[in-house]
């Protein structure tokens, strides 16, 4: 086999030409004959029972298809982890924007008027809207104690450390909800045929999640449900679970009407009704030695799951496991809890719990440094995980990771020391204050613990009649470059040209279940399987004597063609098998949580404006170790994109809630970063290689979401001397934190001690 070096090269994005020419087909670009438009009637209250639904007389309802809970052929639920979330609320409402009724009509203008013409009378019940109200059992809305899930991670004997601690440092940190804000709103088209069953086409991440949900909802067998992914205009986790709901709604309307039905959310419906990042609260209590060694700690990590369980247990798990970050904890106790509130369920968003708990930890590390009187760098160096040590779940780090070296390189790339000194001096002057902050962290790739074993993902590589090679996976492309990278892997494995390999559009009728496209697992887990399947093709051809050890692309094609002619179908399937060294104890939450970790050190440089109180990021260095970089341009794009979402999480994106409903569900008042907000994001990679993924690749997609918020807030704390413990941190939050006018004047005008140990003087001033 020739080594063509396709892996590691920035080949053209597979579907790129369609995207730059406007030819790529998204769900809203689909039109089927006789297609109706569908819409959802939603609850206006947070909690209560439905007394009466009134249909206004200004509408001719006979023209409409109307679907209620009674029209559901199977079970009224959206199957996921549990089946607790109804597809349509049946008399009882648990959050604002909960779906009640569905309408369809050929005229979408009329449809909007019809939704408005429906009024619902409720008997309201008291509702709860945040972690605290849920914990104090102000109302019990779920089970006996409003708790969806708890985890306990214990290592060593944390109760014994407090006595010998030189310092005990406590802190409480919170993060807000964050909207994924993919630019393409959610949407689905469904069609029903008595013989073929239900087919849905849509904007989605996980075809087989929807497949499972529709089977249960419609009471149909697997072969009577077909899910096809259309080109998907961004997802970031936001199209992991909620598309099952929209597919269910479109399917119900299609079944009742006998016609194809398209549901496309407008921006406000998408923002107010669908999932967001879980708001969180993390409490740290850490025992530290005189020199800054962590002796042990207690961490309490709590997330607001919203009204139904959905994915909260899994988000909680990842957040809890990442709560100890990239540090060695000889003793630790992590208590994690997902609670119920009367908010629309929170869900998957890039990072999946880790950005929340890592924000807390990386702020807390700076706080520990202040308490001990050492620098933010020194506290991290003292406690970095090293090869051979164990994580909080007692997973031995086998990777040859050197975080000291990674930190050194990040400091050099960012010119950290010189800037730190300069800013301290410059901040003596009136005017804008500058600061620099770091975050060091890790992100586990793939499903947690035995998750990959339970998934048992399957992929295929098939040879077509013309001798071409085609990849069969349910892994979806939504911007990351899934198709491109998987084709690269197969081309490299088979010694073909990149152009010689095709990949099927995810369609449950055509592709096996290679698991959901989430958890930074596609390149590492699915990529490795695709590589194995490709090797299967090559070895079969070799065994049949049709190719030798080396061959040209043309010879390979001819051999494939000959094989298919003689034997018919030629397909190689690979199925996931858990490596033997991955051992996980689900009960004790102990063992190998992840097949591999990606590691990173990020450095943020900020300016806080003395007039507007807004903080802006002047420079950002993102240095990470993600194993082999298979496609440098795509990898860089993943990092920059994640960093900017992380900066948004820190500085711009604030969901305003009122009685559980998002009040700023528009792009005019929920602000994401624009090109004018960002000056410089510099991306660098270390490559150590890793045995788990294809060609040594690890997960990359979520990592860059974890570090920016703490790095940026650490930089703002450095600039102003205020220990901010919460994101998002908007100008008004900074304004409020600065207290009265005198305090604000102090920060922005009065001279402060120059240089010296970082933070000390400013903490004193605060």
């Amino acid at each position: 086999m020739k080594n063509s070096n396709i892996v590691g090269a920035s080949v053209p994005r597979l579907e790129g030409r369609d995207k730059i020419s406007g030819q790529a087909r998204y769900v809203d670009d689909m039109k089927l004959p006789e297609m109706l438009y569908g819409a959802t009637v939603r609850s206006r209250i947070a909690r209560g029972t439905v007394r009466e639904i009134n249909f206004g007389s200004e509408i001719n309802w006979e023209e409409f298809v109307i679907v209620g809970p009674a029209d559901i052929p199977g079970r009224n639920c959206i199957a996921l982890i549990d089946d607790d979330q109804p597809c349509l609320a049946d008399g009882v409402v648990n959050h604002p924007e909960e779906p009640l009724l569905l309408l369809a009509h050929p005229d979408r203008h009329l449809l909007a008027k019809a939704v408005e013409a429906i009024t619902v009378e409720y008997d309201s019940l008291p509702a709860i809207f945040n972690i605290q109200e849920s914990e104090t059992l102000a109302q019990v809305i779920w089970g006996v104690d409003n708790t969806f899930k708890t985890y306990l991670i214990e290592k060593g004997d944390v109760d014994a450390v407090w006595e010998r601690a030189d310092y005990v440092v406590e802190g409480e940190y919170t993060t807000g909800a964050q909207e994924q804000l993919y630019i393409e709103n959610n949407g689905m088209v469904a069609q029903f045929d008595a013989e073929k069953g239900v087919t849905v086409w849509g904007s989605l991440q996980c075809p087989y999640y929807i497949h499972k949900a529709l089977m249960k909802l419609c009471g149909l067998p697997a072969d009577k449900v077909r899910v096809v992914q259309m080109e998907t205009g961004g997802a970031f986790g936001g199209k992991e679970e909620y598309p099952s709901m929209i597919a269910a709604h479109a399917a119900l309307l299609a079944i009742k009407s006998g016609k194809p039905v398209k549901i496309i959310y407008d921006r406000m419906e998408d923002m107010t009704a669908t999932t967001k990042r879980h708001p969180s609260r993390t409490r740290h209590r850490t025992a530290v030695s005189r020199s800054g060694k962590i002796l042990g700690g207690e961490i309490e990590f709590t997330i607001d799951g919203g009204a139904y369980k959905t994915l909260s247990p899994v988000v909680l798990s990842r957040g809890a496991i990442h709560a100890g970050g990239a540090y060695y904890w000889p003793n630790v106790r992590i208590r994690a809890k997902a609670v119920a509130t009367n908010m629309p369920p929170h869900g998957a968003f890039r990072g999946f719990g880790a950005p929340q708990s890592l924000f807390a930890l990386e702020r807390h590390m700076d706080r520990i440094a202040e308490a001990v009187g050492i620098s933010a760098l020194e506290i991290r160096r003292q406690n970095f995980l090293k090869t051979g040590q164990t994580t909080t779940t007692e997973q031995v780090v086998h990777e040859e990771i050197d975080l000291d070296k990674l930190l050194d390189r990040a400091l050099k790339l960012s010119d950290y020391h010189a800037k730190k000194e300069k800013f301290a001096a410059d901040n003596q002057q009136n005017g804008g204050k500058k600061g620099i902050g770091i975050a060091a962290f890790l992100h586990g790739a793939g499903f947690t613990g035995s998750g990959e074993r339970f998934l048992g993902s399957e992929v295929g590589v098939e040879v077509r009649a013309d001798g071409g090679v085609r990849v069969l996976v349910s892994s979806t492309e939504f911007g990351q470059g899934t198709k491109t990278v998987l084709c690269q892997i197969v081309a490299e494995t088979l010694g073909l040209r990149y152009e010689d390999v095709e990949i099927a559009q995810p369609d449950t009728q055509e592709v096996p279940n290679s698991g959901p496209t989430v958890a930074s697992r596609t390149v590492m887990v699915v990529g490795k399987l695709v590589q194995s399947a490709a090797i299967g093709i090559r070895e079969t051809l070799k065994a049949s004597g049709k190719i030798g050890d080396s061959y040209s692309a043309e010879e390979f094609r001819a051999a494939c063609q000959a094989y298919v002619e003689k034997n018919g179908t030629f397909r190689s399937i690979a199925k996931y098998e858990q490596p033997e060294d991955v051992i996980w104890d689900e009960e004790k939450y102990r063992g190998s949580a992840y097949a591999a970790f990606a590691w990173a050190v990020y450095v943020a440089e900020v300016t806080v404006d003395p007039v507007t109180y807004s903080a802006s990021v002047d420079d950002f260095v993102a240095l990470q170790e993600v194993g082999k970089v298979l496609h440098p341009t795509l990898a860089k794009g993943q990092i920059i994109g994640g960093v900017v979402q992380g900066i948004g999480f820190a500085l711009y994106e604030k969901v305003i809630w009122e009685n559980g409903r998002m009040q700023n569900g528009q792009m005019t008042n929920y602000i994401i970063p624009t090109s004018a907000d960002l000056r410089s994001i510099r991306v660098h990679f270390e490559e150590l290689g890793n045995v788990h993924g294809a060609y040594g690749a690890k997960g990359i997609g979520e990592l860059p979401m974890d570090g920016p918020a703490p790095a940026v807030v650490n930089a703002i704390a450095d600039a102003l001397g205020i220990p901010f413990d919460s994101v998002p941190l908007l100008p008004e939050d900074i304004f409020d934190a600065l207290g009265d006018g005198t305090a604000r004047e102090d920060v922005f005008s009065s001279p402060r001690e120059p240089g010296g140990r970082e933070n000390d003087d400013r903490i004193a001033a605060a």
């Binding site: 730059i20 998204y26 005229d107 009329l110 921006r267 528009q666 792009m667």
Partner: protein, 165 residues
Amino acid sequence: MTGSPQRSAECEISFNVNGHATSLQIHAMERLLDVLRHELGLTGTKEGCGEGECGSCSVLMDGLLVNSCLIPALQANGASIVTIEGLTADSSAKGLQQAFLKCGAAQCGICTPGMILAAFHLLSKKPQPSVDEIREGLAGNLCRCTGYMQIVEAVAEVARSGAAR
């Protein structure tokens, strides 16, 4: 789209779309975006927010960059409209489109047509923009995937080589 009384208020507009003279009956309250997508099948123009914030629906109207979700279709009567399909068909933005591909400026692709229209418009007004001018010039077009750096890089590269076409 038939049969309802709301559809009765129709009127005719004539305009030029991507070089083709076009006349059609439209609903009086229709947005230019809907006419392009639904009536003319030009689905390369995307809807992201419907309120002029995201720029995914950007098209050129008589040489100006507009959000087609904010333009009543009637206002386009007599105008010349260019969409991504038009730019692609006459190769007028070929260099820019290639640079988007090469630099990784398109990820999920939903903002890409609008972003290319905005970049094309910027370069036609100012063939040699500075990086800051590119950042400002594209600030009306939101992208959630790329973090913009690779988009700015693509436009800067085209400006340097003077090869938007």
